[in-house]
Structure formats: C-alpha cells, structure tokens
Subunit: 153 residues, 2 copies
C-alpha cells in the first residue's frame, strides 16, 4: 500500500468514530460541558475537525499559513464534520513522498520542526486525544451503546 | 535515530502526561467515575498502563500469551503506573527490526493480523484515547492546571 493510502485508512479508522459520536449529540446538547472549564460539545467537535485540517494543510503547504485562516463554522456540527472530513480526505490523497518527508519549521507555533509525516501523526494523536474526551461527553449525555475507539476500514 | 529510540521517545511523550494526570488523583477519588457506565478513575488508570504493556509484549513475543497472564495490581495507581512504565520502557528498548516487521496473528483477539510496528501504534492510540478521557476525569476532580496532551521529551 502507498504511504498516502495507509495514511487515509488510518485517518478514517478514527474519523469515522469521531463522526459516529458527533451524530449522537443533539442540538439541544451543543452547550453541554462536563466540567466548568471544559470546551462545550460543539466547541470540542469543531476543534477536532478543523485542527486536523489545519495540521494536514500545514504539512501539505510547508508553512503555517493555514492556522491564520478563518474556518467557516457550519452551525450544525455533523454538517461541519462531514465537510471537513471530505476536505481532509481530498487533501491527504494528494500527498507525495516529498511532502511526507519535507521538514516544516513550526518554531513559532509549537517550538519545533517536524516532517510532514510527523505532523500528520501529531494530527492523528490530537484527534484521538480529543475523541477520547468526546466519548465521556456522549456517555454523560445518556448514550451507552458506543463504538470501539478505532474502526476497521 | 533508531526505530527503537524513536518508539521510546514517542511512548514517553504521552506516558509522562498520563503519569502527571495519575499523580493528581487522590486515593479518596479512586472510585470517581464521570458517568454511571464509565470505568472508575482507578480502573481507567490501571487499564491504560497494563494494556500498553500487554500489547507491547504481544509484539515482542509474536503471540497473544501476555493477555492471558494476571497483572499484579498495586493498590496505589501511581506506584502501578511507575512500575509499568519502567517495565514497558525496558521491553521497548529490546525491539529488533525483525520484531517491528514481524506479523502477529491476532485473529482470535482483534480479528486481524498486525505487524509489531502496527501493534505498537495501536498501543499508542489506545493510551492516547483513554488519556483523553482521563483529562476529563482530572478536570472534574477540580484540577484546572493541566499539562498539554503531548510532552516534548
């Protein structure tokens, strides 16, 4: 399998689960937060899908300009997640070996330099981390039939 | 950097954060769970550190015997985490290229076959997932000064 296909499959193995969780969050519960200092369910869902796109776009472009752009937020988090998933899939499908290996200077943003591959792993880790929190949100909203944390694709 | 060193560094970048969170859980709060169907703080902490060891031992041995062994549970979760972190570091340090590449038959356990490298990535994803939930627990227990989800090592 090519590196691009492997990455796409890995992305969807987790993103499909993120979307399953987001599907369970009714609009009435968008403002729910498990603790006073937590992000709301809506903020967390939006943060997960926009952050992955920004990190992948950073790896693709070789610069941090993506983080300076405003991301349009659909008021519906499932619509937003579906849009960003499509955009992120399209973006990942274009990665060349050179882009996986190119080192991007992220000194201003994260205080380090990372290769495209390392940036995409950071994007995965970030999604898995926040999705782990989202499981607690969805469980607290009364759902007990929950997917595995990773899905075979 | 060798694959072994890269893996060790990646492991500690997350495990150090897991341990920081576990340090914040007082014995009085071991039974805390954020929802009725969640694992308790003690169960979750123990699950994170023993599961990583089992998955890494599976990759190292090339069979699933590790999952059939009883893991001794120290009643103190910080002591348990420290012990398992040391054992896991020692184990990861011994991995050869052959062991990273060897395919292990996990059909009985997870319905698939995975290489040592893929098994270790699954162990990382599993830890990051549950650590993401643990952040919610620790925040709910009143802590607001929390580490980043990944630490530079």
């Amino acid at each position: 399998m090519t590196r691009t296909k492997t990455m796409l499959q890995y992305f969807l193995a987790h993103r499909n689960v993120t979307q399953e969780l987001i599907k369970k969050i009714a609009e009435d519960n968008y403002d729910y937060k498990p603790t006073p200092t937590s992000m709301s369910a809506q903020e967390l869902s939006s943060h997960i899908v926009t952050s992955f796109f920004n990190l992948a776009a950073t790896a693709k472009r070789g610069d941090t300009s993506a983080f300076a752009e405003n991301r349009e937020d659909s008021p519906n988090i499932l619509t937003l997640a579906e849009q960003y998933t499509e955009n992120t899939k399209d973006l990942l499908a274009t990665f060349s070996d050179e882009e996986f290996d190119r080192v991007v200077d992220l000194t201003n943003l994260f205080g380090m330099k990372l290769s495209g591959r390392q940036l995409l792993q950071l994007a995965m880790d970030h999604e898995i981390h926040h999705k782990g929190a989202l499981f607690v949100y969805v469980r607290a909203l009364g759902h007990t039939e929950l997917p595995m944390f990773i899905q075979r694709v």
